[in-house]
């Protein structure tokens, strides 16, 4: 690795490189072309690749998602940008019924090489309709890969792999990570669809993905000062879930805290509790714990919003509680 760039630029670079490599790749979505993307992820791509490959759409999520899926049936490789994954709810029938299920329903005949990407989860004070996390919904459904990058290296390497995959991919970005800086690999490198141990530790495993992974890493530093050596795993692949990385770590630390921005019920955290039951129950020294977004439509008021989402201190306290120190 060499260059320091932002997640925003990493995503841009991934798309640019893949657009250069394969003329079947195209980008479609609202404001992706002339406006360079609502969050400027597609900056410069229209200039370089022209309007046939960088396509502005009307506000027709169900329509353009379905259209992109149709194009993929004939071998094109669309990248669909949802301006926010909240708007993917309008298109979700096409994502699940037309994209995720078609390979199976066709007995393997029809591939659907498509990436649905865009910011997922909360941003800053955008209210309940613009802040939902769709990780567990998409992870629930067979036929998809679900990725949730954290760092620029994740963003670039996973997006490149996603674009090259012949399967439909849900690629969950996070608005509050777009400015995050980090190193990235060169144009050849794709990241494997596996979790990453961001910080090794021995006392407790903390899993997190997307924006709250940053909070988990901060919390681990504070825990360190308190004499607790947490292992922090970047659960950037939510489907198929990287069970091995999870269980290996839990077998070492014997404690698990799952941090997640989304709502708690039937969440990725819930899933991890079950996976631990299935794979390494006997290694647990304490029950698996979750620290999720509060079970409420995200409020706008600053004090309530802060309370609704996992904060660094909350993570520290939750970890201490798992370890019986609180």
């Amino acid at each position: 690795m060499s260059k320091m760039i932002t997640v925003r630029d990493a995503l841009n670079e991934a798309m640019r490189e893949e657009l250069q490599l394969d003329e079947k790749v195209f980008l479609i979505g609202e404001e992706v072309a002339e406006y360079n993307g609502a969050y400027k992820i597609s900056k410069g791509l229209l200039d370089e690749f022209g309007p046939e490959r960088i396509i502005d759409t009307p506000i027709s999520e169900m329509g353009f998602a379905g259209m992109a899926v149709g194009a993929s049936f004939l071998g094109q490789r669309p990248i669909v940008e949802f301006m926010s994954f909240n708007f993917s709810m309008q298109a979700i029938d096409q994502v699940i019924n037309s994209a995720a299920k078609t390979r199976y329903m066709s007995g393997g005949q029809i591939a659907c090489p498509i990436v649905f990407r865009g910011p997922n989860g909360s941003a800053a004070r955008v209210g309940a309709q613009h802040s939902q996390c769709y990780a567990s919904w998409y992870a629930h459904c067979p036929g998809l890969h679900v990725l949730a990058p954290y760092s620029p290296a994740d963003a670039k390497g996973l997006l490149k792999a996603a674009i090259r995959s012949n399967d439909p991919i849900i690629f969950l970005e996070h608005e509050l990570l777009y400015g995050l800086q980090g190193e990235v690999h060169g144009p050849e490198h794709c990241e494997p669809f596996k979790a990453v141990v961001e910080k090794e530790g021995t006392d407790i495993t903390i899993t997190a993905f997307s924006f709250v992974l940053g909070k988990a890493l901060e919390a681990a530093k504070i825990l360190e000062e308190k004499g607790i050596n947490a292992e922090v795993i970047n659960m950037r692949v939510l489907r198929p879930f990287d069970i091995e990385s999870l269980t290996q770590s839990v077998m070492k630390t014997n404690h698990l805290l799952c941090v997640e921005e989304g709502w708690p019920v039937a969440s990725m955290a819930s899933e991890q509790a079950m996976l631990v039951m299935e794979h390494c129950f006997d290694y647990l020294d304490a029950p698996v714990a979750r620290l999720c977004g509060v079970d409420v439509p995200l409020p706008y008021a600053v004090n309530l919003e802060t309370l609704s989402l996992p904060q660094v201190d909350d993570i520290v306290q939750a970890a201490e509680k798992v370890l019986g120190k609180k």
């Binding site: 390979r103 199976y104 007995g107 591939a111």
Partner: protein, 323 residues
């Protein structure tokens, strides 16, 4: 309206094959070989058969769950379709898809879709791909009168117009969406006029007369192919049977049904061919016997075919199980 003997015979044979195939499918359903949904096309044959004459290699076809006829019109095999209806391993989807979910890339058939209206954006996307690939091809996108109440249809029209996509939209207006008569779900205005709101040209046609259909679709397909623009046709047709095999269709007034039956596409083309010396009674009879034989052959084949291996339960979900 000029049609040569060969074309007329080809169309008649295909309509007969569809009719006999569907009758066999209905029988197979009663016999317990086919389960779940099974939507028959009996009465509507003229639409896909009239259209098939405009199909060129590399074109794409997509439709709803009422799809057996569309597959036959793409020259997919009766055996492969029937085996899929039976849920057997030689079915087009190895039995995994069933009646509503079959595909053949080789024959240009892209499903078979169970969600009303969903095939319209998909078909628009097939056209987008054809455009991107700079092909001289078009996407035949079929949907029902009931599907016209789906918003995604208008999202598609708008984009097909904006992007100049080579898509031929064909509304198969058979008068009903399940038990709901078209005027009860769409009001009094003709459906084809809705295209105009999105700057797409359109027309209506008698969907019971295959010669008329063939002519209208030839012209409009040519428009789409040469102008690289969308076009919409509303075919007025009728299904003689219920919505799915289990629906008795009591909501269809007897006289209405009889009117259409009196206008039967197969009977009509047969008469025309007889009158114009394009075929003899015996030839027509022989063609029908061939159709019956094919349908029966498909049935027997499917009955004797094996179920897909249980090992296949978890295959075909994703290509990259592990990247």
């Amino acid at each position: 309206m000029i049609v040569d003997k060969k074309t007329a015979q080809k169309m008649l044979a295909k309509m007969m094959l569809i009719r006999r195939f569907e009758e066999r499918a209905a029988a197979a359903y009663r016999d317990g070989h086919i389960c779940g949904f099974c939507h028959l096309y009996i009465g509507q044959e003229a639409v896909v058969v009239g259209a098939q004459e405009s199909f060129k290699s590399g074109d794409a076809v997509i439709t709803s769950y009422r799809d057996h006829a569309h597959m036959l019109s793409c020259d997919m095999t009766p055996r492969g379709i029937m085996a899929e209806l039976f849920g057997k391993k030689s079915g087009y989807s190895k039995g995994k898809g069933g009646s509503m979910h079959m595909f053949s890339i080789e024959r240009g058939f892209f499903g078979g879709h169970g969600i009303v209206g969903a095939q319209v954006p998909l078909g628009t996307g097939l056209a987008l791909a054809l455009k991107m690939q700079k092909k001289d091809n078009i996407a035949f996108t079929y949907f029902g009168d009931g599907a016209c109440a789906q918003g995604q249809v208008y999202e598609s029209f708008n984009m097909a117009n904006l992007y100049d996509l080579p898509v031929l939209y064909i509304i198969e207006n058979n008068g009903y969406a399940m038990g709901t008569a078209a005027r009860r779900h769409s009001g009094d205005k003709a459906l084809y006029e809705r295209a105009h709101a999105f700057d797409i040209e359109s027309c209506q046609m008698d969907g019971m007369d295959v010669l008329k259909v063939q002519e209208v679709i030839a012209e409009s397909a040519e428009y789409v192919r040469s102008k690289k623009r969308p076009f919409l046709i509303e075919a007025q047709t009728y299904r003689y049977v219920g919505h799915s095999v289990s629906d008795p269709g009591n909501y269809m007034p007897k006289e209405e049904k009889q009117q259409y039956k009196d206008n039967d596409p197969i009977g009509k083309l047969s008469s025309y061919m007889l009158e114009n010396g394009l075929s003899s009674e015996e030839e027509i009879k022989a063609m029908d016997n061939d159709a019956k034989a094919s349908a029966k052959d498909a049935y027997v084949f499917a009955e004797n075919d094996d179920l897909v291996s249980e090992d296949e339960l978890m295959t075909d979900i994703m290509e990259d199980q592990n990247v």
